[in-house]
């Protein structure tokens, strides 16, 4: 298990490099390429003074490398500008929108992984059978669906036509007020449980079902396909035949040996799956009006709220990088063969 201090330090160093790279790219995109960045920063319909102030804030009269220096300093001190739409500091906006997104992403991703791995195995163990074909078909269709469309259709069918599950918002505001619900962690499921508020808990849960399932569809399909193909490969490796012919219990063979061989590359790919889940979550947030970062960024895009757009992009990129770092470390820990 070569997860030595050196490995961790090296990965952290890479992370820092990547963070800087991300910041430089976004800097180029938003300050260097646009002709009049102060207009973007101040927002449309901004009065002349606001534009002048923007010019100063962005230090546009100074040379590029100085601008970059200020940019980096601003970033690290949490000064990400002010969203002209919400009139709040962008950093704050993003932090308050984060729990909503996390709740959705974590649950969606959990569904994808917890259902995906067994299904992939199930399919591989029945290679060539009809059951295998059914699972594969579901997975390939799921990997072809545009998320925003699925979100719309599910909302229409279950939320409006069948009225089975509410679609939109995280919790019924009236219900929350009446039952005295207060948000502590930002995770409504957790908060309602902590406060023993079962009414809000059920409501929040019901409202999570559709978005979470929608979010989970793509990574679920990806996981099934990947696990299945890996398992098929491993099942044909020499050691599987050797152990089996000499008498090992088939269940032990599959659920201990094959699983362990399969799980390593799966874990390595979890980072990317998480990325897809994240982006999918953003589109789902837009459709279901779920007040997370995706919704915030989406609104910002529509209203040309550049500080907010920039801040969201940078935040998501960094968050994603951090997740990938964790995934890489876990992968190295699990698989003795991994080297940097």
């Amino acid at each position: 298990m070569p997860v030595t201090y050196e490995y961790v330090i090296k990965r952290l160093f890479l992370l820092v490099l990547v963070v800087l790279g991300v910041l430089v790219i976004t800097f180029i995109l938003t300050r260097v390429i646009p002709a009049r960045p102060e207009l973007l920063w101040a927002g449309p319909h901004a009065p002349l003074e606001a534009i002048k102030r923007a010019r100063e804030e962005l230090h546009l009269d100074k040379p590029i490398h100085v601008q970059l220096a200020y940019y980096l300093r601003d970033f690290f001190t949490g000064n990400w500008g002010v969203s002209w739409r919400t009139k709040q500091p962008v950093f704050q906006d993003i932090l308050s929108a984060l729990p909503a997104t996390l709740e959705l992403v974590i649950i969606g991703f959990a569904i994808a992984v917890i259902a995906g791995i067994p299904l992939g195995f199930y399919s591989a163990l029945r290679l060539g059978s009809i059951k295998d074909d059914v699972v594969r078909s579901i997975a390939v269709i799921g990997a072809s669906m545009p998320i925003f469309w699925v979100a719309l259709i599910l909302q229409l069918v279950f939320g409006i036509w069948l009225k089975v599950l509410p679609a939109g918002k995280r919790v019924d505001t009236a219900l929350a007020i009446v039952t005295g619900f207060r948000s502590i962690t930002g995770f409504y499921l957790l908060d309602s449980l902590i406060q023993g508020n079962m009414i809000v808990f059920i409501d929040a849960l019901k409202r999570l079902v559709l978005p979470a399932i929608t979010v989970s569809l793509y990574p679920l399909s990806l996981t099934i396909r990947m696990v299945r193909s890996l398992a098929v490969e491993v099942l044909n490796e020499n050691f599987v035949r050797f152990l089996e012919v000499n008498g090992i219990n088939r269940r032990t063979l599959i659920y201990r040996y094959v699983l362990r061989s399969v799980i390593s590359p799966v874990i390595a790919s979890l980072g990317l799956s998480f990325g897809y889940t994240l982006i999918g979550a953003f589109m789902v947030e837009l459709v279901y009006v779920w007040p997370g970062i995706g919704y915030y960024a989406g609104m910002a895009l529509l209203s040309y709220d550049y500080p907010a757009v920039l801040g969201s992009i940078v935040f998501v990129a960094l968050f994603y990088s951090a997740i990938n770092l964790v995934v890489d470390l876990v992968h190295a820990w699990i698989d003795p063969r991994v080297k940097l």
């Binding site: 290679l127 012919v245 000499n246 008498g247 090992i248 032990t252 040996y257 390593s264 003795p336 063969r337």
Partner: protein, 324 residues
């Protein structure tokens, strides 16, 4: 060689279904394996020798189909029985080692774990007992650093040690039969000799019936008292090693022996190439490469001719079984 027959194979036909076509791996194989003998199945790649071994050991891959035939072991046709007892008996009584020791164990688990997992199931004993048996088996396989081997991962051990370990695993349950599929092909020459000697010794010590698969007549001569020559899924010749090597009956066997590089003799390979395993043959699959071929060789399957202790599948000998 007489003696009690423990495995009796009749009319075995095995196909592999692939996207490239149907591979006829075994085309009508008859074979009797007797208790206590060392039998070598010799042939080129694609001759079906590994398939034969895998069918006996009931470890065929998923796309293989036993189309016809029977294998009688212990009064049961193991191919026709879907009973779990039969499978358990085969797992208990037959041990098998493969060609590449490095990939015979899972790279993610220590050797100890793999031994215990196999033995506790096949012998129905506790892990502690399984471990004890493992140690004994590794010692019998002439491994000196038993504890080190047990605690190591496969990539930490040499090829020779791993092959000894896999032989130990196959024999730890004290099976009746050991099938060794090209056990030395991936090893260096010195280690090859060691492992072959080990197998001979262990065969004696454990009282095994040995089935060895090889493409090398030298190995056959060294280890086995009986040799079976296979080609394109058929058995061409079968008999005591000394007799077959000194006086090969089948033209193919003769060609093989002539093709072995030897000092002072020019290299005489068999002309042509082995046939496409997907091909179906009306007559003998060796027709076209055989310099003793006759008219009926292309249209009629070669008959099985028994000549004393030897058997040959060839038109050339049809009729001679009644002489002497």
């Amino acid at each position: 060689m007489s003696g009690t027959t423990i495995i009796s194979i009749r009319g075995l036909v095995v196909n592999y279904y692939t996207f490239g076509g149907v591979i006829k791996a075994l085309r009508d194989v008859d074979l009797d394996i007797n208790h206590g003998e060392s039998i070598c199945i010799v042939g080129e790649s694609g001759s079906g020798k590994s398939t034969l071994a895998q069918t006996i050991a009931m470890i065929l891959p998923q796309n293989a189909v036993v189309e016809r035939g029977s294998i009688i072991y212990d009064s049961v046709d193991i191919l026709r029985s879907s009973s779990l007892d039969v499978l358990a008996r085969v797992r208990r009584d037959i041990g098998m080692v493969f060609q590449d020791p490095a990939t015979s164990f899972s790279p993610l688990f220590p050797i100890k774990q793999q031994f215990v997992d196999v033995l506790s199931e096949v012998l129905k004993v506790t892990p502690e007992e399984a471990l004890r048996i493992s140690r004994e088996a590794l010692k019998n396989a002439r491994l000196i650093e038993v504890e080190r081997v047990l605690n190591s991962y496969p990539h930490e051990l040499s090829g020779g040690m791993l092959q000894r370990a896999s032989i130990a695993l196959a024999l730890a349950k004290k099976p009746k039969v050991l099938i060794a599929d090209e056990p030395t092909t991936n090893l260096d020459v010195t280690t090859q000799a060691e492992i072959l000697d080990l197998i001979k010794v262990l065969k004696r010590e454990y009282g095994l019936t040995l089935i060895m698969i090889t493409h090398n007549f030298g190995v056959a001569a060294h280890v086995c008292d009986r040799v079976v020559v296979m080609y394109a899924g058929m058995i061409f010749e079968d008999g005591p090693t000394r007799q077959v090597l000194d006086n090969p009956l089948h033209p193919y066997t003769r060609g093989l022996l002539m093709a072995i590089p030897r000092m002072g003799r020019s290299l005489t390979p068999i002309p042509g190439f082995p046939p496409d395993p997907r091909e179906v043959f009306e007559g003998c699959p060796f027709y076209g490469r055989c310099n003793s071929a006759r008219g009926e060789c292309s249209t009629q399957k070669p008959p099985r001719v028994v000549l004393g202790e030897r058997t040959v599948h060839c038109h050339l000998y049809w009729g001679s079984q009644w002489k002497s």
